[in-house]
């Protein structure tokens, strides 16, 4: 029968060889995942990557085609949804419209015949500061309030595992920040295991202890947010989690600690420890805020990689920082974020600049940079127009 008692503490979740096929497509292929008890785990990915399906599998709302799900070491693969020690905060909130707020929150407690359900429900509502609305109906609440009720309805059950399905998506920025903080506090207070599914990389990075980046039904990379940001393994991660400048090249030489990459005639050095590949074709990347701009060619040094000269295509000021888009012939467009501390040079559109970064800030990716197209300029309308004109001129010249 259903779990009759509160979970003492969070339980760990283990997914072993999970595969989920729907008629016509595979949502998840061969997923292995272990989430330690008490951690705040974020599953990050674009829409359609299989992250919500993963959540529904854990909640028991879908059955895996293959593989096993273990919660706290117990195999729950064939356990039905209402018998799993898991609660979900749904993306749509799914508050029962025919019940008052307090009835909604007490629903799970009553089903488990836990003593004093209404008192505990009021307590949970106080936690999300909505106790004064206990007698209202869900339709009478704002989106943010409904979201907090949905959260209260889930955590009041003290599940071993709390699943969050993009619950903050519908909130405005300020409320989202507030809820992120509240969630984090609740998680630390109660010590539950949180599995948070989101496509918002900032949310994932600020809240989670561990982030798993998911793409096309598989996990691309998993680790602490800082670690993932600092050393992405694939081009997808490098571009989904923040932005990256990527350069494709060939390994031209190596020492004990570093490799030298020939990227379109420019020599780039990457520490061996920061490269996932040490020979053949390789993609080198660097985060835009690690790159600095120079108005004259910097003297070559073994500590810095220099790319340039290039021309500034665009400057956009955003308060704390300025974003420069630099067109470097042979490499495409380079993105540079400069802090507005007054230290760096301030350049305008059209200026000739060199870009450089410290060798230890670069990283070498495991796969080819397909996503670099995102930064190439061929899709901009001006370049297409220019291309057309050049073609026409050439044609006329021939005739």
């Amino acid at each position: 029968m259903a779990v009759r008692e509160f979970a003492e503490r969070g339980a760990d979740l283990e997914l072993v060889g999970i595969q989920k096929r729907f008629p016509g497509f595979t949502a998840i292929q061969d997923l292995d995942l272990k989430i330690p008890a008490g951690s705040f785990f974020a599953l990050l990915g674009p829409s359609g990557c299989g992250k919500t399906t993963t959540l529904r599998l854990v909640a028991g709302l879908e059955e895996p085609t293959q593989g096993r799900i273990l919660i706290g070491g117990k195999d729950v693969t064939s356990t039905r949804s209402h018998e799993r020690p898991v609660n979900t905060v749904f993306q749509s909130y799914a508050l029962f419209p025919h019940m008052s707020i307090i009835e909604n929150v007490a629903f799970g407690l009553k089903r488990r015949r836990i003593a004093d359900p209404v008192g505990k429900a009021h307590e949970a509502l106080r936690l999300v500061e909505l106790d004064h609305l206990a007698q209202r109906r869900p339709q009478q609440l704002s989106g943010g309030q409904q979201q907090r009720v949905a959260l209260a309805r889930a955590i009041v059950n003290r599940p071993a595992l709390l699943l969050l399905d993009e619950p903050l998506g519908a909130l405005d920025l300020k409320l989202r920040r507030q809820m992120q903080l509240e969630l984090k506090t609740i998680q630390e207070e109660v010590g539950l295991t949180f599995l948070h599914v989101t496509h918002d990389q900032e949310e994932a990075m600020t809240m989670a202890d561990t982030v798993a980046v998911m793409n096309k039904g598989a996990i691309e990379q998993m680790g602490a947010p800082a670690e993932l940001y600092d050393l992405p393994r694939t081009a997808f991660v490098a571009n989904f989690l923040g932005q990256s400048n990527l350069f494709a090249g060939e390994v031209a030489g190596s020492t004990d600690t570093a490799i030298a990459v020939d990227a379109g005639g420019t020599r780039l050095i990457v520490p061996k420890a920061r490269a996932h590949r040490h020979n053949g074709a390789i993609t080198v990347g660097v985060r835009p805020e690690k790159v600095s701009l120079h108005t004259e060619a910097p003297s070559p040094s073994p500590e810095r990689n220099v790319v340039g000269p290039g021309r500034v295509l665009d400057v956009s000021f955003s308060g704390v920082s300025t974003q420069y888009l630099v067109d470097v012939p042979g490499h495409g467009t380079l993105l540079v974020f400069a802090q507005n501390t007054g230290a760096g040079p301030s350049v305008g559109v059209g200026a000739e600049v060199w870009s450089s970064w410290l060798v230890e800030h670069g990283f070498g990716l495991e796969d080819a940079a397909v996503e670099t197209e995102r930064f190439s300029s061929d899709d901009s309308t001006t370049s297409i127009a220019a291309q057309r004109r050049d073609d026409l001129v050439a044609e006329l010249g021939e005739g």
């Binding site: 259903a2 779990v3 909640a59 028991g60 709302l61 039905r80 949804s81 209402h82 018998e83 898991v86 609660n87 979900t88 749904f90 749509s92 799914a94 508050l95 029962f96 419209p97 025919h98 629903f107 799970g108 089903r111 488990r112 109906r137 309805r153 059950n157």
Partner: protein
């Protein structure tokens, strides 16, 4: 109601204040129609129900009076028919609900993935309307008559006693009522179940409710508008029905309902005041019962 108006005054959408002449003009045909064909007969019915027999007159000749004694007379003479009418109607409504709910659930929820099957089943539910219900009820009389294949087979198998009848029994009348009103029950149920958001059911099972509890606590309350509409559409006409219970169809002498009595009084006995009084009683009783039902089911905020 007045309090509700105070508390949610700001949220209430403002009704247009100007009573436009065009709106009145557009309403006029409807009002005229209702006055002519609803209000006039109703008043006439009320007056008839209070008529007294004409002194030294023929059978069927009455004069206007305030003879409220008519009501007492019909109540004492026909109270078993009144009770029977509502009993049969209630039974038919319950059976129709029990039969239609799973059917509507299947069409509206289970078959959502197969729109073709959904439309096909809806057509099958509506299909009986293509034939007059008199003919259909007569057909059932044929099928269930004592000499019919069904009854003789049941007798041969000793499932029915040798003297058993089906037509003419209360069961046959309730069967006929249930059969005739199933589409009226199924269609409103289907429309609410078709819109039922399955995410609520998932949320319920996520909150430790087993499938039965999910059905009882979530599916049923959310489909309440359909249940109320369907039961009203079945109960009201079933209580006044005079076809199924008639001797010419599925009924017998012991299954007469109010409709049959009204018919007999009006067309055979020519006792117009009694027929009118019975009609008024039927109407009033239905109004009261339905009023209590709608109030009790608390569907105002779901409708």
């Amino acid at each position: 109601m007045a309090f509700a108006a105070f508390t949610t005054a700001e949220a209430q959408p403002q009704a247009p204040r100007k009573s436009s002449r065009i709106a009145l003009l557009l309403l006029l045909p409807g009002i005229l129609y209702l006055v002519l064909f609803f209000l006039t007969p109703l008043v006439s019915l009320l007056l008839t129900s209070l008529q007294a027999p004409l002194e030294y007159g023929d059978i069927g000749q009455y004069q206007y009076a305030f003879n409220w004694q008519n009501y007492v007379d019909v109540m004492t003479a026909y109270w078993p028919h009144i009770v029977r009418s509502f009993g049969y109607a209630l039974a038919a409504t319950v059976f129709a609900l029990l039969f239609s709910y799973p059917l509507a659930y299947f069409i509206g929820v289970t078959a959502r993935r197969w729109p073709l099957l959904q439309s096909l089943m809806l057509v099958l539910v509506i299909a009986p309307f293509f034939i007059s219900f008199l003919l259909r009820t007569l057909a059932w009389k044929q099928i269930l008559s004592d000499e019919s294949f069904v009854i003789t087979s049941l007798k041969a198998l000793s499932l029915l006693g040798p003297d058993a009848h089906f037509t003419g029994t209360p069961f046959a009348v309730i069967f006929g009522l249930t059969y005739n009103f199933i589409p009226f029950m199924t269609l409103p149920l289907y429309t609410t179940l078709e819109r039922l958001d399955l995410r609520y059911l998932e949320a319920g099972s996520d909150l430790y409710a087993n499938p039965f509890t999910v059905f009882r606590k979530i599916t049923i309350p959310l489909s309440m508008p359909g249940i109320v509409a369907g039961t009203l559409l079945t109960f009201i006409p079933a209580a006044g029905d005079y076809v199924n219970a008639s001797r010419d169809f599925l009924g017998g002498p012991d299954t007469q309902m109010m409709g049959n009595v009204i018919e007999a009084n009006f067309l055979v006995l020519l006792n117009y005041p009694a027929a009118a009084a019975l009609s008024i009683i039927l109407m009033a009783a239905i109004l009261v019962l339905v009023g209590i039902y709608v109030k009790r089911s608390g569907t105002e905020d779901l409708l």
